[in-house]
């Protein structure tokens, strides 16, 4: 569905991603696992069009090579990003944040239906619907970031570190929800440092180190791979 070939990303003099190739099949959960600076976020940022200096190709079924398109065009092709650091709009309410998530859509009824769906996924957000985004706790903000990405009714949802800074109980909750969203037919590209949780739910996984893919396989394969165990799963 989405295939990235020989992607390079540069920030000034820094060569952050050095020729990554990945394939994301429809309906799968694909995860990119790796330490800080491995190039995970840079990869999704390149897919969303947020980084300008990149080479290679990102081929998206039905849209050709989408590399070099502006972020606002990419969303319209059906790829949504829940960005790193949540990026909630602090002065808008939860409701308004979600409404803006559906910015590219015009079907009022569909938007209302999806909003109810997001509220049913995250009942906490419904309780706080009229509260400013900036007053939410970290976990609630993360839920809002995921919910907001879903509001554009995407085919592919890219989640950049959805478990970052969350309490362990919430982490499990978020991963259960990601699985649920996937079961409804959405393709998911998941970026995680929490390798165990990510590999457990992933159909396919890539391990990144300093800008290159060092290992790939199904989630279960990598979960039992001795090298992965040693490096990411604590032995």
């Amino acid at each position: 569905m989405l295939s990235i070939a020989d992607l390079h990303v540069y920030y000034g003099g820094i060569h952050a991603v050095k020729g990554i190739s990945l394939d994301i099949a429809k309906g799968q959960i694909v995860t990119l696992v790796g330490a800080n600076g491995a190039g995970k976020s840079s990869t999704v940022r390149a897919v969303s069009g947020l980084v300008k200096s990149c080479t290679g190709s990102i081929t998206y079924e039905g849209h050709g090579n989408i590399l070099g398109k502006a972020p606002e065009e990419i969303v319209r092709t059906g790829i949504a990003l829940s960005p790193e650091g949540r990026r909630i709009l602090p002065h808008l309410t939860v409701e308004e944040n979600l409404q803006l998530g559906a910015y590219i859509r015009n079907d009022t009824q569909g938007i209302a239906k999806d909003k109810e769906w997001v509220y049913s996924l995250f009942p906490r957000l419904k309780e706080r619907a009229w509260q400013a985004g900036g007053t939410l706790s970290g976990g609630e903000q993360q839920m809002l970031a995921v919910g907001r990405a879903l509001m554009s009714n995407p085919d592919i949802v890219m989640l950049d570190e959805p478990s970052l800074g969350l309490a362990p109980k919430l982490v499990n909750e978020i991963f259960a929800i990601i699985k649920h969203i996937n079961s409804l037919g959405k393709t998911i590209l998941l970026i995680e440092q929490n390798a165990f949780a990510a590999l457990s739910i992933a159909h396919k996984a890539y391990i990144l180190e300093t800008g290159t893919v060092v290992l790939e396989g199904t989630g279960q394969e990598l979960l039992h791979n001795p090298e992965v165990k040693k490096a990411y799963l604590g032995g």
Binding site: R87, L100, R148
Partner: protein
């Protein structure tokens, strides 16, 4: 009647009350006081329009004086009589296109606003790609360019001689009428989805883009709407004080409006209005410190410019102790007023709590 319909009715009553007060003022106050009331309205129009650009969309623009100049000149040239134009353009004859052109005042104000907005559009396309302080410097430069062009385009503007004897059409009714229109249009804009997009761009442009917002388009939109009302404000200024020249529209003018916006609260329309009332009145009232004062045996000589010193000190106090401005991002609402009337003490304790909550992201 549901809540929002009731609030609309209240707002309508408030506007009627405002005009009743104006009617009283017109018949009972001296011309000096009326002039101050007029300045309050014009400053409020300018402050609200700058707040749209800076406070709500997050674009640090210092070009307001330039837009005002365009509004003022376009409107003036359109309302002067052909005889006035002929006698006033002495160094260079007026351009034949303009010599006999004459429009009714209201239309001339609108044309002034549109002209300012168009220039805003031309400036916006190269300049709005910049962000932060760079945008401030670029817009400041453009405002100065506009001023220099006006100084040198003598066939259209009478150059550095300026224009005198502009008919004083901008009375209380006209100025407050435009204030009501400005506030209505901008509040409606901000309450719509477009307003949320503006705020999203201000708070996090990347987040806005990942949601599919063409941020450049909306920044240009906000800039042009702001420029339109700045042009209107400039046109009203010209028709209020009856004389304009290029030296009026320097950076100091932008600074005064910026001061109102920052003191009132970036991102609060109510703040801009309250700020323009307080600061316009203070600017006049503080003139007493520039006159000689005698305290018993002491005789303090008048010091010209002293009120600006006091003003600077006040501004510094606001920046030090209340950085978000008088109202922060809060707005007037009938619900809040009802809460205040019911229980003032609780109202203020809640208000202070909600600010501390909003500042801790």
């Amino acid at each position: 009647m549901n809540n929002s319909a009731m609030h609309r009715a209240y707002t309508l009553c408030a506007v009627v009350l405002l005009f009743a007060i104006l009617f009283y003022a017109e018949n009972n106050l001296d011309t000096y006081s009326i002039q101050i009331l007029n300045l309050v309205a014009i400053n409020a129009i300018l402050a609200v329009s700058l707040n749209l650009i800076y406070g709500f969309t997050g674009m640090f623009s210092l070009g307001h004086a330039g837009f005002m100049a365009i509004g003022a000149y376009v409107c003036t040239v359109l309302i002067l009589t052909p005889e006035q134009k002929e006698s006033m353009w002495i160094l260079e004859a007026i351009h034949p296109w303009l010599a006999n052109l004459s429009l009714p005042f209201l239309l001339a104000v609108v044309v002034g606003g549109i002209a300012a907005s168009l220039v805003g559009l031309i400036i916006a396309i190269p300049v709005l790609r910049l962000g932060g302080d760079y945008l401030g410097i670029a817009t400041l430069g453009f405002a100065e360019i506009i001023r220099v062009v006006i100084t040198n385009a003598a066939p259209f503007t009478n150059g550095s001689l300026g224009i005198k004897g502009i008919p004083q059409y901008a009375n209380l009714w006209c100025n407050y009428g435009w204030l009501v229109v400005t506030v209505y249009v901008i509040v409606r804009l901000l309450r719509s989805n477009v307003g949320n997009v503006f705020k999203a761009i201000r708070d996090d442009e990347i987040a806005a883009r990942t949601m599919g917002v063409n941020t450049f388009y909306y920044r240009v939109l906000s800039f042009c709407v702001g420029a339109f009302f700045a042009g209107v404000g400039g046109a009203l200024t010209a028709a209020l004080i009856s004389t304009i020249d290029p030296k009026m529209f320097t950076f100091m003018l932008t600074f005064n409006i910026l001061m109102i916006v920052v003191a009132g609260g970036l991102g609060s329309i109510t703040g801009s209005i309250v700020g323009s009332i307080i600061i316009t009145f203070m600017l006049e009232w503080l003139r007493i410190v520039e006159n000689p004062i005698s305290l018993g045996d002491f005789e303090i000589p008048g010091i010209p410019g002293m009120r600006m010193v006091i003003f600077s000190v006040m501004l510094m106090c606001i920046i030090l102790f209340r950085r978000e401005g008088l109202l922060g991002m809060r707005e007037f609402s009938w619900d809040a007023l009802a809460r205040f009337v019911k229980n003032p003490v609780r109202f203020f304790s809640r208000a202070s709590r909600s600010t501390s909550g909003a500042s801790g992201k």
